[in-house]
Symmetry: C2
Amino acid sequence: MIDLMKIIIADDHALFRDGLHVLLQALGQVQVVEARNRREIEAHLKHGDVFDLLLLDLDMPGIANSDGVKRICESAPQTAVIVISGNDAGYVVKACMDAGAMGFISKSSGSKVMLAAIQMVLAGERYVSSGYFDKSSEHALDHSSTATSISPRQQQIWQMLIDGKSNKEISIALSLSESTVKQHISALFRKLGVHSRTQAIQKAHLEKM
Amino acid sequence: MIDLMKIIIADDHALFRDGLHVLLQALGQVQVVEARNRREIEAHLKHGDVFDLLLLDLDMPGIANSDGVKRICESAPQTAVIVISGNDAGYVVKACMDAGAMGFISKSSGSKVMLAAIQMVLAGERYVSSGYFDKSSEHALDHSSTATSISPRQQQIWQMLIDGKSNKEISIALSLSESTVKQHISALFRKLGVHSRTQAIQKAHLEKM
DNA sequence: AACCATATAGTACAAAAGTACTAGCTATAA
DNA sequence: TTATAGCTAGTACTTTTGTACTATATGGTT
């Protein structure tokens, strides 16, 4: 905590970046740079400087899902990554942590939680928004034995639903039969407990209520 | 600018509220209260205090669309409302300003723009993110003669698409025939230039790229 | 080895969604 | 007045979506 810390703030919303920027002053000696998309993050990382921490907005252009997090984590193993997201549903949190993130903070968290999380992560500990545990325990009650997770293929297709793609478009993009796409979608719906793609999209966008 | 200003920050994300809170210190003498949903806003407003300014996140629970903005504006005519939103598409901006907002700021704006906008609005002027004009001029090029706006009914049904409702559910909720619902949806799709409800949902969520 | 989840692909069918019409009513703009 | 646009509702039709099966292959667990 004594030496200068180098931190990247990655978020496409300038207001949010500015807010974080000010909050980070409370940590003491920090050098903060900002990034508005994946390209800017990678530009910073490849510039030779070694950063201590990357605060990564999950809803940012070029990131979108845990695959983006994974790429970033692998390309900068020296840098601790904390994912910040408005969607703190269990599967999102799990996917990000599995992808190599050192922390996950919900946008619903306050600045005190934020700072504590950063200090914990900088000390080498992993940190996950406590809301995660609240929700996953509720989840356990709901789904009882069906504590199934969404498979990579299902997540990939889920994202394409969110992007407004039709079954045919998905099948062409992934070189699959339409039948297979339907199978994956049905399996996804079963896990989410929904019966239409619009409901699946809503689940993805807003488990943050 | 000499007397104490009373401001409400309304956003469901604590981190964003904290960031704004700090930024607002730059205005000098300000008294800031926070609200996490519509109920908390109304509680503040009905408490008897007169507020000078309400910074209102459009993506907040209980607000969702310009109807929410309208209700707030009408219930507190003494308070200037600035809408803050990640979606700064033309129709969203227009709907909010028509609903009685004094300003519209994109989340992509920086803190300097933010502060300038607030000062402008407190001085009695209306302010709209300049990005609006950029986009609306592009829009004019794209749609040429078809600069049609989304009607209230269409917006209402659009919101229900986003909520994952089926045509049947919408028709029951609004006491309409399914045929009428389909007609409204087709009209909406024509204006948005899409051919499926999932694409319409995507348009709603992300014209912010 | 037996079992399970995943991924693939097919058939078949029912339900929902989307489009294209017509048509009457209202309100507003040219 | 004549358009124009919205809101309503209907019919008719095609396409898409969603479900329920079967079936094969793979990789991991017990």
